[in-house]
Symmetry: C2
Subunit: 499 residues, 2 copies
Amino acid sequence: MSSQQVDNTYERFLDHVKQYHYLSGASMMLGWDQRVTMPEGGTPARAKQASALSAVQHDMLTDDDLAAMLDDLEGAVEGERAAIVRETRRSHERAARVPDDLVERLTEASANAHPVWKQAKADADFGQFEETLREIVDLRREYAEAIDPDRDPYAVLVEEYEPYIPLSDIEATLERLREELPPLIDDIGDSDVELANPLAGTYDQDDQESLVREALDTLGYDWDRGRLDTAAHPFSVGTQFDARVTTRFSPDDPLDALGSTIHEFGHASYTLGLPDSEYGTPLGSDRDMTIHESQSRLWENHVGRSLPFWRLFTPVVEDHLGVETEPRALYEAANRVYDDNLIRVEADELTYHLHIVLRWEIERDLIRGDLAVSEVPAVWNDRMEEYLGVRPENDAEGCLQDTHWAGASFGYFPTYSLGSMLAAQLFAAAERDLGPLDDDIENGAFDPLSEWLTENVHQHGCRYTTPELVESATGERLTADYFLDYAREKYGQLYDLEN
Amino acid sequence: MSSQQVDNTYERFLDHVKQYHYLSGASMMLGWDQRVTMPEGGTPARAKQASALSAVQHDMLTDDDLAAMLDDLEGAVEGERAAIVRETRRSHERAARVPDDLVERLTEASANAHPVWKQAKADADFGQFEETLREIVDLRREYAEAIDPDRDPYAVLVEEYEPYIPLSDIEATLERLREELPPLIDDIGDSDVELANPLAGTYDQDDQESLVREALDTLGYDWDRGRLDTAAHPFSVGTQFDARVTTRFSPDDPLDALGSTIHEFGHASYTLGLPDSEYGTPLGSDRDMTIHESQSRLWENHVGRSLPFWRLFTPVVEDHLGVETEPRALYEAANRVYDDNLIRVEADELTYHLHIVLRWEIERDLIRGDLAVSEVPAVWNDRMEEYLGVRPENDAEGCLQDTHWAGASFGYFPTYSLGSMLAAQLFAAAERDLGPLDDDIENGAFDPLSEWLTENVHQHGCRYTTPELVESATGERLTADYFLDYAREKYGQLYDLEN
């Protein structure tokens, strides 16, 4: 093709890509509404609307004309254009390889699985869910095989969420956590230190809400491009023009709402940092779940669980909740390690990753056909005992606690741990560039960190692959080194451990 | 075609129709979010999402395959199937006849017009808006000509909102209101009666909100399929599974919020009365703006402005607003006629229709080319003086007050008056079937009326044309008789007029 022909094809291609992304944005908003504002009776109509929209998106992504344009453009464009072609081709191929009827069966199976899982969890009875889970595992294996029959199906599924970091690297990271965290957690368990808990009691939802709103103000959330609502399972969705945060309140744990709000702020700040001018292309879209989770964890843990943050924020907490305490006490309360906790979403920064390791091992073996669905509860309970020294008394606090598998998500869990590793690595890189951030945090000066993250991570969208982005932002490959150093230093100090 | 071929074609056709309607439902929800929950910064992304979705819907509606199926099915199916074919053909033809670039120019022009109109209104200066309005009038004339070059362009535009009642009938109705209302309004102006106003003062928004929520409870709003929010210009949208109401609060006029909420309840109750099983087809869709407005006006005026309603609801008002009054006083307050009011949305039940007559005359003449855009302010002011005896002091309280023309809506206004006429006619028909409803209303027993409306109006969706539906529900054609009788009796009594 002449360069004029390439330009013309590219324009047509870009228009197609943008229309597709705009429709994805519409879908996301319908999802937000369903989880936040929709009355429950609206479900049947919303299911039809979402599925019609998803069918249109699927058609646009698997379109023959798009395939032809991708063939024409590959190798003919470079730089940002090549990145857009690369990302679109990846999405196109994954979508095109999966037969329509399999997509429909998967969507239907996971929609039907949700109430079955919910009831099984309520009854703490895995037996009710077993057949449903078997069906979903089989469909997901079929799905992975449709995408690539020659590769490890679990690797194929992980790429839904983390497309570019090789599974061998991911697994090496998880194995290292499995290796190195238990001794630290054991030392903490053996420590005589009792961390403070100055917020025993119950707190009004209104007070908690005004507190988390002030946290969002303090961190620099742009209310003109966002809003805060409540949701049963907090999440954040949106675009660079409108990235919304949700949270939840429990009467006796205001730190839960605060931590969860700061976590979702991290997700939203990533989305809001994507370039406005690239809205509708992969350059204006978030990279993947690893990067997303690195942003939420960085703000939740490296900022929100730091001593300087509590020096800044303790008076705010005192003011909204009507308590009298001190920064060190709240810092301790936000960093208690619970070595007898069975529930992932209630876990601390350390034991959290052993919850993930357990799920990774089980889902990997299920997808590879190395573990029967019927064996899940026993394996779960045994591994909990092995890694964390506690054993669930029933399936509700064991293998039924998470919704991911009922939702047909296999390969998602590892990105939670990868995100934490990357959060520590990015925070260290930011401090190398900007100097120690303690004073900034204590003074409520979050702009330097925010701007560093936008410049080094957010603004690139999907311009780079994940490993390229990690290397360009931190100067090295993704590593657990920074997280483990951070963990040993912070918790060694908190629990008065010998180093 | 064999009957088997017809059945197959019909199934394929119906699937296409449903997908189209589901996407319309998705569009509506994006619109709700934009007006109710979206942060302002989200506008650029939402505009792209809405326009991408609307382009998909336009393609589906103008699709050649759909055209071929319509040709095959017309005359080959009957009953409900024929109604679905009739309604789909009508939408298809209107969409197919308008060139894509004209649709885009119209969308763009009205999007651009909104801020120009808003500023012109803020500055009370029609001159700033004149050129923009001229452009929109020209585009709408071009649009009407594209649909049918051989017919009165205004008639073609009215059919966007009221497709089946002949314009000659509509105009005869409006002419009759222009004839018969002024003498009644004059008599009221001459009356010595001063109606009560027991709610002078200001009221907390929270108290007003709990009041209107109780009103929705009382009328039987299904909260499992709806919700209440605030919006600058109250509206209702949704489906039979999820029909939402919005309202607004002004500190010194709690009756405004209440009336507006009951009005939107009427719209929502229509939507909720559409059959669940037909969601996604014209049989599960609202008929048109005339029918919609008849439902909102029936509840707002014939229920919410009736003496029995105030017998029921006065204790509730007293309770929420902390006042002490009596039913007759609130009844009078809700029915004051303001013969010096310049603003349509603040008008009473009687003068309201002269505001509509004025707009109908002006927009009809603009579209027919009988009136220059530059003459609009002068004609507006002269007619206000002629019909209502008051003259706007500036364009903000004159021809700039409504957003419709800036939004390229010409032909919409008449449906407001038609809806009121039909509301009176339906209420009379319901009382013929059920007996006088005063006692039911006073006792808060709204089910008989609701069920009558669902059975006679809502459940039919678009099965019938509007005249057929009116005749099947009331036994006669749409007429202003019932409204005028109702108005003369009610206001004759309120203002102590000689009959």
